[in-house]
Amino acid sequence: MTLSVFRAIHTAVSPHSLIFRRSRASFCCSVNRPSSSSSAVSATPVSTVRIPLFLREATGTATISELHAWRKWAQTLVSSVGSKFEDADNGPGPELLCREIRWMLEDVVEANLDVVNRLSDETAFGKDGDVVRLRAGLDELYCLWEERIEKRRPFQYLVGCDHWRDLVVCVQEGVLIPRPETEMIVDMVEEVVSRDKRLAEGIWADLGTGSGALGIGIARILRNGGKVVATDISEVAISVASFNVNRYGLQDKIELRQGSWFEPLEDVKGKLSGLVSNPPYIPSMNIAGLQAEVGQHEPRLALDGGKDGLDYLLHLCENSALALESGGFFAFETNGGSQSKFIADVMTNRSNFSFRDVKIVADLSGIQRFVTGFRQ
């Protein structure tokens, strides 16, 4: 296979060749460094959270030319892939993968971006012996990129974070990587609370919070007094979310509760100013055909919405009327198209007229992505 050829090339040029002799059965670089973050304190078991690259201490070093060699090698891997991933399952093409290489360097090199710029500048090279400090060993970099290409491990899991809105949200296996589409829910909430100050000071719920992205995004736009209760059934999700909440200093504004959907919300029943959720909505039969990054790496618990993908969305519809206060706002993300039409119909016509102004909102690709509305 072509990849092993490239590994051979790399092995020949890398001073770390020995490292590549070990078995590839397990993640070759599972990062088990002693966690340097004692900063994240919470009642939840934060110890399971893996520190993302950009937050690690820079303990490694490399010369510019070593990094350049890595980049060259990584790009060779990319060219060997060509449009294979795109053709197979609409996966990433070479242009995207090359950008990921650059971003990985941004996260890993402890220096200003000019160093990274220099790395992508062909002419400035040669034998650049300048040493830069790295947040991961060179050998780890090689392993990570190999996983990206060979195993299609998502880029965000490699570096341990996802840039989402103006946030950098930490993620790891077991937690869904927040999607760009979902950013718009925060925009919608922002618009609603700017028009109604009362909602801006109320309690909001984010059900199935995953990494905590939505909850954090919303907490940052609420006014003083406003709070978010974010729930998830997954223990990893709660740990990661709590890490993120702490990192943004929002411990006082966001309360994380582990449990299924509305179960942990008994005490705020009927008092919610807003309810947002991006529940699993992919129909079970589609799971097998998903893009490798998603189907083989992201948790099924976060994706599989049952037979039509509607199981959890319907559960949310059924319980929202009781959860929201009068005038409260809801926004759900859907799989688009017929799903959103169906959910909008349920909220409008099969809810004893509990809701008003039910709307379908398209995402930036024009897909009918969201259903929103207000409690009467």
Binding site: P92, R99, D114, D121, F155, R179, E181, I367, R369
Partner: protein, 503 residues
């Protein structure tokens, strides 16, 4: 410490107002009794100097400024008489002598003095001196209007502009004063046979000669938008891979140029070619006077070489067009964009999206429907940031469009517009059959294309800037000088760029 809340400009106004009305005698007393901290005093001292003094004025913390010297400087400033010595020596007189200007290494005081006087003349010309003075006088009367602070935005702008104008005037007057002092001192030293003093003064003259030469360059960048950061956009001409490769080379030239100057660049938008190079790309350039320099690059750049993509090794000519857009810092001058006029869309997103897709791509395109102007950004790491950056690009394009519109309304600028129209070919890079880069506007040329393509373009930029400012006699100028600030955005329409074979 309530005083610390006052803007420095208000202290300036206070000072200025009092001086205008000849209520000078009590001024320093008031200021020193009111100022409670060193910093406020220092700040006053700065502003006072800013307004009224040449570099020779000494400011001490308690007495601040001798009132008589203030009055002297003030009157000489507003009347704009050239500085003269007791014997009537002035910069103009020095120029009239037509002393030969020799190489710096020749220690001839007349040559140094003549060179300095000439530089001062060039600087004044570049600053459009009579205009500048009129403007300063106008702004001075504006800032002293009693109702000015009723509109704080306007007042802020006026006082800022006023400060800038006065700063420039002060600086030039200071240079004139300094030259005359040196010349007088030198004469004195000679008369008295003080060879040590003579030597010292010679050294000072030489230092000044070098210093004013640099100031000449600074004076090239006196346009209102020159200090702004900017976007540089490069678009390949028609002709496929050949010109896309050339466009990438041009973009790379600017990235390296920016790096040399210590500017920070970020890629905003990049559309790669299928085989090599780029179809187009936009970078953002941050740094002092980024726009002032980069604006000189607007136009079409032409390359002649043996194509690396042509198996039969023919000679090719390719084109790349460059646009430069200032990013205006003053929000109040921005065109107001209505949200409802925008179409914001994600592009290159395929399939179902949402949970089914994992991608690090969140490219955003914004279309301003009424004008059809678009902006795209794909290099940021989140959709939100791509959107924000695309919005910034769109804002700058619309601002520029508006400036172009206003410039056209102002018939005086028609001339300069045709001069620098974006479609003009400005530079040719020949790699074969001989090697040369030549600027078609200034005829400036060098025989080492490699170093130019590695970003060594300052000489081209400066020669163009000086040519365009010095060309016409705009010493009495009324805005007819070429100020290539008003350039329609390149990507509104782009035709006539091609790539052709020269077999």
């Amino acid at each position: 410490m309530c005083f610390a809340l006052l803007k420095r400009s208000s202290i300036r106004h206070f000072t200025y107002f009092n001086l205008r009305n000849h209520r000078i005698s009590s001024l320093s007393v008031i200021i020193s009794s009111v100022c409670q901290s060193q910093t406020v005093e220092a700040s006053f001292a700065r502003s006072a100097r800013h307004y009224f003094t040449s570099s020779s004025a000494v400011v001490t913390p308690k007495t601040l400024i001798s009132v008589s010297s203030l009055a002297h400087h003030f009157s000489s400033l507003s009347s704009l008489e050239s500085r003269k010595t007791s014997e009537g020596l002035s910069v103009d007189k020095i120029l009239d002598q037509r002393w030969p200007i020799l190489d710096e290494s020749q220690s001839d005081w007349r040559s140094h003095a003549a060179a300095i006087a000439l530089s001062i003349q060039v600087i004044k010309k570049r600053l459009k001196w009579p205009n500048l003075v009129l403007r300063a006088e106008h702004l001075s009367s504006e800032v002293t209007r009693s109702d000015i602070w009723e509109n704080p935005d306007y007042a802020g702008k006026v006082s800022r502009d006023h400060g800038i104008c006065m700063g420039k005037i002060k600086e030039v007057n200071g240079l004139e004063q300094e030259l005359i002092e040196h010349v007088e001192l030198l004469k004195l030293a000679r008369d008295e046979g003080d060879s040590e003093l003579e030597l010292e003064t010679m050294k000072a003259l030489l230092r000044m000669r070098r210093n004013v030469k640099e100031k000449e360059i600074e004076a090239l960048l006196s346009g209102e938008q020159d200090p702004c950061p900017c976007f540089i956009e490069v678009q390949a001409g028609a002709g496929g891979t050949e010109s896309m490769d050339w466009a990438a080379m041009v973009m790379n030239m600017y990235k390296m140029w920016a790096q040399r100057r210590g500017f920070h660049t970020t890629v905003v938008d990049e559309m790669p070619g299928e085989i090599a190079g780029i179809k187009r790309a936009t970078i953002k350039v941050d740094g002092d006077y980024a726009f002032g320099y980069a604006k000189a690059e607007v136009g079409v750049h032409r390359l002649v070489r043996i194509s690396p993509f042509d198996s039969s090794k023919r000679r090719h000519t390719s084109f790349a067009a460059v646009a430069v857009i200032p990013i205006l810092g003053d929000v109040s001058t921005h065109v107001v964009i209505k949200e409802s006029d925008l179409r914001i869309e994600r592009f290159r997103s395929g399939g179902a999206g949402g949970q089914s897709v994992n991608t690090t791509d969140s490219a955003v395109r914004i279309v301003h429907i009424p004008t059809g102007v678009t902006a795209t950004c794909q290099n940021e790491r989140s959709q939100h940031q791509n959107k924000a950056m695309a919005m910034q690009v769109l804002q700058s394009r619309l601002d520029q469009l508006e400036m172009a519109r206003q410039a056209q309304l102002n018939s005086q600028l028609t001339q300069s517009l045709t001069d620098i129209s974006w479609g003009n070919q400005i530079r040719t890079y020949v790699l074969h059959p001989y090697r040369m880069v030549k600027d078609l506007r200034t005829n400036y040329e060098v025989s080492d294309p490699d170093s130019v393509l590695e970003g060594d373009i300052d000489a081209f930029i400066l020669s163009f800037l000086s040519a365009s400012l010095d060309k016409k006699d705009n010493y009495l100028g009324n805005g007819t000088g070429s100020r290539p600030n008003f350039v329609p955005p390149l990507f509104l329409s782009c035709t006539g760029l091609g790539s052709m074979n020269q077999v």
